[in-house]
Symmetry: C2
Subunit: 435 residues, 2 copies
């Protein structure tokens, strides 16, 4: 095949990166695929702003149909983001027999089933390496060379904004609100950062990781999701005292046929490689029954890193097209009819160690009452720390041995009714028992 024509929907930051890569490394791509990968048309509502990349020889259009109905275009790169019109465009591209490459985790986490089914029906491919971990080629590895493994655990630091904020809170002892403000000024957080800081973006990515690791459909609604907005600099300090760092983790585990699917701030030991993932970097750590623990680390976002993953998918497609085949591997790595729907373990039933922070009046017997309420629910204390008194109110911090989430919640609800407790008690799950 002499040439493969590509259409691009969405000329934002990543789109500009893709244009740049396809232009600058065009010869390299030919050396690796044997074909010319040529970007024919870019569609965006704004086709006048200069993105700082050369678009010579590329048609710029405001009309998606200029890509979606162009019979010359065999590969559509969707970088619009969000649910609509991304969903309609992807389905139309598929319906017209075009392969789709997308970085859109929101789209796939919510409408993946519909899109994969349409792709199967139309015998085209849907590739989405860039949807998780930016440039890190983790999805390809799960579907590809690690395919022989049954995975037991996947942990991911997959949201650069949250990791940037937590890193600065850790390094500077700063508070969440002030770091968020600064991150927004520096462009590391959106003007409306809700999707990032509330863990929604991380939950989207977890859905994709779970589908690939376990060959299961995941309903985003079933993913427990908690953001980083309630993390205080005090928690960061106490974490350090206990030998932990706080990271927003996507956590997926296979537990006796049930799947744990949860996103929340997590304390991990300082000497775990994941604890050293700083700033906007991402990392994904998987455990397979044969490969054991494997970690992938790299830039989780940004114009160029994400473009690397997008173009990597285009290379994959180009090699298939040159070989005259399609769907050599299905979107989730499992044959479509082998994808099941595994049950999700309710969050109340998960078992973790916990860090719990109480804000209490400094009165005799407070500790005994807290310990008693925890003990009555079978929650056993591993360590305890009461800060030097600076006022009448003191933070009391404990870590627990393994406890059931539901029991912890009930115990805290009871403890919070004590008149000596001055504000709602908070807790952070601890993950320190990885193989």
């Amino acid at each position: 095949m002499e040439e493969i024509k590509v259409g691009l929907l969405g000329f934002g930051t990543i789109g500009a990166g893709v244009v740049k890569l396809l232009k600058e490394n065009s010869a390299l791509l030919t050396e690796k695929t044997g074909t010319r990968i040529s970007l024919k048309t870019i569609v965006d509502l704004d086709i006048t702003t200069d993105r700082g990349v050369c678009t010579e020889g590329i048609t710029l259009s405001r009309n998606a149909d200029d890509v979606l109905t162009d019979p010359e275009i065999s590969v559509v790169i969707e970088l619009i983001g969000g649910y609509e019109p991304a969903r309609s465009f992807a389905l139309k591209a598929i319906g017209n027999g075009k392969h789709v490459v997308t970085a859109n985790k929101a789209l796939l986490a919510v409408h993946g089933e519909e899109i994969y089914a349409a792709a199967k029906k139309n015998n085209v491919e849907v590739l989405f390496e860039a949807a998780v971990g930016g440039g890190i080629p983790v999805l390809s590895a799960i579907k590809g060379n690690m395919a022989g493994n049954r995975f037991s655990t996947v942990l991911g630091i997959v949201n650069g904004t949250c990791n940037y904020i937590l890193t600065r809170m850790t390094q500077e002892g700063a508070d969440f609100a002030e770091v968020l403000k600064s991150a927004q000024e520096l462009g590391y957080a959106e003007a409306d950062p809700t999707f990032d800081i509330e863990g929604v973006d991380t939950a989207h990515k977890l859905c994709l990781l779970l589908s690939l690791c376990f060959g299961t459909k995941i309903d985003l609604k079933d993913v427990y999701s908690e953001g980083i907005t309630s993390i205080t600099s005090e928690d960061v300090d106490f974490a350090h005292t206990f030998g932990y760092r706080i990271k927003l983790l996507a956590i997926g585990k296979m537990d006796g046929g049930q799947i744990e699917a949860r996103v929340h701030p997590t304390m991990i030991p300082i000497d775990y490689p994941l604890a050293d993932v700083h700033g906007v970097f991402n990392a994904i750590r998987l455990t397979g029954d044969f490969v054991g623990p494997v970690m992938f680390y790299g830039r989780g976002a940004g114009m160029e890193a994400t473009a690397s993953a997008v173009v990597g998918d285009v290379v994959d497609l180009a090699r298939n097209l040159c070989a005259g085949i399609t769907r050599r591997c299905s979107p989730l790595g499992f044959l479509d009819d082998k994808v099941t729907t595994l049950p999700i373990k309710p969050i109340g039933e998960i078992v973790n160690k916990y860090y719990i922070r109480f804000q209490a009046l400094d009165r005799p017997g407070v500790l005994a009452r807290i310990a008693g309420a925890l003990g009555a629910r079978g929650i056993s204390i591993a360590s305890m720390l009461q800060s030097a008194r600076s006022a009448d109110e003191v933070p009391i911090v404990i870590t627990t041995h393994d406890a059931r989430e539901e029991d912890v919640r009930k115990a805290l609800a009871e403890i919070d009714t004590f008149e000596v407790i001055r504000s709602k008690s908070t807790y952070i799950r601890i993950e320190d028992n990885l193989e």
Copy 2:
């Protein structure tokens, strides 16, 4: 395709892992490939020893031809290791139209060109993910999703034995010889550890990484290689004082059309993720022009992890065979006729920072003479440390700014003639300027 029949040459540790994986995860492999991957025949000189894995239904033979000439077998897994008879067997398999999966870095580093040419001629594939980094799927990622990048640097901790020894030297302050002895007793080092501790195994793996990153043939003879036998516990201590850890690194760099290809003990900053790769774990860090820095981390050796990579290659082949194609991607990721022979930069011309340790008599003017000899070669000192005197002889340790290797060698040759210098001065290269 209903079934793909596989033959295994070499029933050692990794071979047993492959048998175990193909047996235990057989159903999973079918769910991911749509075909049954069935191990028909195992060949080994020893077919009586119990390897602790079930071989029911598999033919065991001492005759390689039972695999190499069996028309039913389409995939041959070569796990004999070493040059011969592995080379002859691989070539015969290829000549008979069989695809080859191998973990044999020595074979490919030395005879790769011959084997790739034979594979091209016979239209079969040669896959070797397990040859570098055990279970870590780094080669697939370079050839696959990261294919759009021009790489500038590849750094690897790819020899578990060396990393285990250096880790224990660091953690225990122990000497090389005593840790090596203990490593041998524990099975982490071979009875004859030469290939590992002299850096030869690491150089083999570097050859493969360079070929895939840069699309070039590499002659093993051109790879500068230096092992860890001369590292002392004193060096480990001084490294710590300067904020470094010592790792045996495979280093590949693209430098203006020339390639740096070298293996040597290297000081890296303690806060680099690579510095946290402990024990028998491996890690490979690459920098691509778009993806930026990416690191892969996992088990670099062992029965099960390596089997994961071997079977991953078999899955790749199975997907091709089911699609009715072959050589969708050539062995090095670049089309065969695009693989070039880039020049290797002579070791004398590389530029590094250096750690240098002198053993000198404690006399006035020694430092001035050392500094003078270095300065005369344009080598500028970044930091200096003279230990508290415990005898008439003292170690003097310096780190330099960027200097040319040849200049450092000449300066040390001169300094070593000074009568106050009591033994050969040693140096370790520093790598602390990574993007």
